[in-house]
């Protein structure tokens, strides 16, 4: 029986590795700009680009025509960028892997998910995008819940982890919660990698799920409450917290919220005024990187726990700190307290400008039910926070806006 490559309940699609090879053998043209809602077609095009050793540009499908024009500097990329393809017949999947291992010119161009302004273009070559891929026989039985946008770096890393081990991908991203949970259970998903926002919005889950052995969280700070709730549901899973960025891919991993830097990597990371800096040798390529003597300022603030070995915990994004009359407020600290309240499903803490104190703290809250009131939330917050940190304006909302990468919109 042939193995499944990709399963998508939303599109009623089940593609076996054999189907993938047949499809690849029939392709006659390739467009270097990949712009599609169809995940399978995106995956197939990435594989094709590797087989013909040509660069590929991944465009989010919700980019407007105007944005695409600015990003690609081409008026009609669908017509212009087509390349004729005549692939030497692929006989089996091992053949695909062998040819992929020979790529020289291949690059993938991505657009970082900036929440304001035009996204930045970043490119990665094959070694940099697959740096963290673990390839071995034991991974061939892995079944990956695909919970990221396929045109972003985290999605690509999951894709390559699955592809290079001939594992199965099961789509979870962009699906309703009941379909996500059905897909995890019905297809015995063993590994899921997603943002904390993805996990938070999936909770609460009524039943325990036993098939999953690894939960990876990245892209945002994972709060301890969500981590504990995940442990209660995915009872057989190890939970891994990774630090990654479009600029550099995955850099660090931790089993709780404290990251420890290995001795051999100490020269690649430094912390200045609480901000994490990454050495340029870890970065992909982009014209927009602002390097200071070969160091890239990540904008991520950390709390150093020990110097040698370097151990630290992420606090927040530098530009997300709220200044209330000279006092700095970390929105994530407040969100974590809100999330500890069982009736609260998700929360976004942000600032509102004013001419008295500069900013005040506000919060949008998504509730699991209608049983809590704003005064009750205020009492909870006042018992745990200093007065200037307590959100002054609280709104109940249906949902919290997400970026194209599935993170919380903070601006």
């Amino acid at each position: 029986m042939s193995k499944n490559f990709y399963i998508d309940n939303q599109c009623n699609l089940k593609i076996e590795y054999e189907n993938l090879i047949n499809d690849l053998n029939q392709i006659k043209s390739f467009n270097t700009y990949c712009y599609s809602t169809d995940y399978y077609s995106i995956f197939r095009n990435i594989i094709l680009s590797l087989l013909i050793d040509e660069p590929i540009y991944l465009l989010d499908f919700d980019f407007s025509k105007e944005e695409i024009k600015k990003l690609t500097e081409i008026d009609d990329f669908e017509k212009i960028a087509n390349i004729n393809v005549s692939l030497k017949k692929i006989n089996n999947f091992e053949d695909v892997l062998n040819r992929i291992s020979l790529v020289k010119n291949w690059k993938v161009f991505l657009y970082t998910s900036g929440t304001t302004g035009l996204p930045k273009k970043v490119s990665h070559d094959f070694p940099s995008i697959t740096r963290m891929v673990k390839s071995s026989l034991k991974h061939s039985e892995d079944i990956w819940g695909f919970a990221y946008n396929p045109t972003h770096i985290a999605g690509l890393q999951v894709f390559f982890q699955a592809l290079l081990n001939k594992s199965t991908l099961v789509r979870l991203f962009g699906l309703p919660n009941d379909m996500i949970i059905d897909s995890i259970i019905n297809y015995n998903v063993t590994h899921i990698s997603a943002t904390p926002t993805f996990y938070r919005l999936l909770l609460p889950i009524k039943e325990q799920i036993t098939s999953v052995i690894r939960i990876t969280s990245g892209g945002e700070k994972l709060d301890l409450i969500t981590m504990q709730r995940l442990k209660n549901i995915f009872i057989n899973a190890t939970i891994l917290n990774v630090y990654a960025s479009t600029e550099a891919g995955t850099i660090l991993a931790a089993e709780c919220d404290i990251f420890t830097l290995k001795k051999e990597n100490q020269h690649l990371i430094k912390i200045v005024n609480q901000e994490l800096f990454i050495h340029s040798s870890l970065l992909g390529k982009s014209d927009t990187f602002n390097l200071i003597n070969d160091w890239y300022a990540t904008g991520d603030l950390v709390d150093v726990i020990s110097e040698s070995p370097l151990r630290f915990r992420f606090l927040s994004r530098k530009n997300e700190m709220i200044n209330v009359g000279g006092y700095k407020v970390n929105p994530q600290e407040i969100e974590q307290i809100l999330l500890s309240y069982e009736h609260i499903k998700d929360a976004r803490v942000y600032s509102k400008k004013n001419s008295v104190l500069g900013s005040i703290v506000c919060a949008d809250i998504v509730c699991n039910d209608n049983t809590i009131t704003i005064p009750e939330i205020n009492i909870l917050l006042r018992s745990k926070l200093q007065e200037y940190k307590v959100p002054r304006i609280i709104n109940f909302v249906e949902s919290i806006k997400q970026t194209r990468s599935g993170k919380k919109v903070r601006k």
Partner: protein, 74 residues
């Protein structure tokens, strides 16, 4: 306008567990009579701006209800 302003002031007061006021008069002092601190005043100005589209503290400190009325009438 007066009723809306009363409602806003009482929202600020009740969110902090303080006693609400029944009626607004021009001579009521925001700090001395109502007991607003700087955080309350910041919240007040954000809520007034959301309702009336005007930043009452833009040109400096406002002390009394009467001064807010003046700003909103302009």
């Amino acid at each position: 306008m007066e009723n809306k302003l009363l409602e806003i002031i009482n929202t600020v007061l009740s969110n902090r567990g303080k006693e609400q006021i029944v009626k607004l008069t021009s001579n009521i002092h925001l700090r001395n009579d109502i007991g607003f601190d700087s955080l309350d005043l910041a919240e007040l100005t954000v809520r007034i701006e959301a309702e009336f589209g005007l930043d009452i503290f833009e040109d400096g400190i406002v002390n009394t209800i009467g001064e807010i009325f003046e700003k909103l009438k302009k």
